[in-house]
Symmetry: C2
Subunit: 122 residues, 2 copies
DNA sequence: TATACATATGAATATATGTTCATATGTAGG
DNA sequence: CCTACATATGAACATATATTCATATGTATA
């Protein structure tokens, strides 16, 4: 039968389909990859950062441009750009006093495209 | 010139490329869409939920299966499944006492595929 | 070198969120 | 009906995180 009693600390259910569990466990990506994916989505999962990324999909922009576009403080934008920088999603170049940011990733466009489709699709 | 002084509450910078800002503003998706995207990514942006979704990419599973797979409490899994339910990312069917969950979305596979590529790619 | 300006950053605060614990709900079987 | 079991849920707690405020850093220019 497929109902096998397993002794685990956390789950004392009797109805465990251990064959399914084992199969899925074998096919799942490595824990580290999954953790990295969660981190990536966490970076995407903020309204301000979504707007910044969408803006940078089209154009390179300086910090002030972005602050103006989103009607937010320079400080708030700068903090968020640091998050995006640390996630290596944006790159920047300095031109005098002005720092220009742009996207540094090939996959972001696809991911955001799919996501836009998703939220538009209902 | 492109340096135009704009009076805004939040940004008092002098170097605003207002042509760029206007262009990007015109091309950006609607605020509501961007907010929905952020919400979607927020749901994806948790290690536990990433693991649940990845598991359900392959197989339909009951709550207990998932708890066993992730070695977490039934309660924790149930709470997270509720989040996924409210985001309409999973559907469920009841069979006696057991509730089986599966993915309820076409785009998730693509988004997760791209993201896995992304994190594997460096 | 003194000032102005664009950006970065540390600390503080407020808010959001994930897990645990206890318990409720719903269903099958004796 | 009473028990067992799978799942759901509310409250509490701990932790993470986004913005603000004040200030530091770095660069150009008078």
């Amino acid at each position: 039968m497929e109902n096998v009693k397993e002794e685990r600390d956390t789950c004392r259910c009797n109805v465990i389909h251990s064959d399914i569990v084992d199969k899925v466990k074998a096919e799942m990506p490595a824990e580290e990859r999954l953790a990295q994916m969660a981190e990536l989505f966490k970076v995407f999962g903020d309204f301000t950062r979504v707007k910044i990324i969408c803006a940078l999909l089209d154009e390179e922009m300086c910090v002030c441009d972005i602050a103006s576009l989103l009607d937010m403080s320079q400080s708030a934008i700068s903090h968020q750009l640091r998050v995006l920088r640390h996630a290596r999603l944006v790159k920047y170049r300095r031109e005098g006093r002005v720092v220009y940011y742009s996207l540094d990733d090939e996959h972001v466009k696809n991911i955001f495209g799919q996501s836009l489709l998703h939220v538009s699709h209902r």
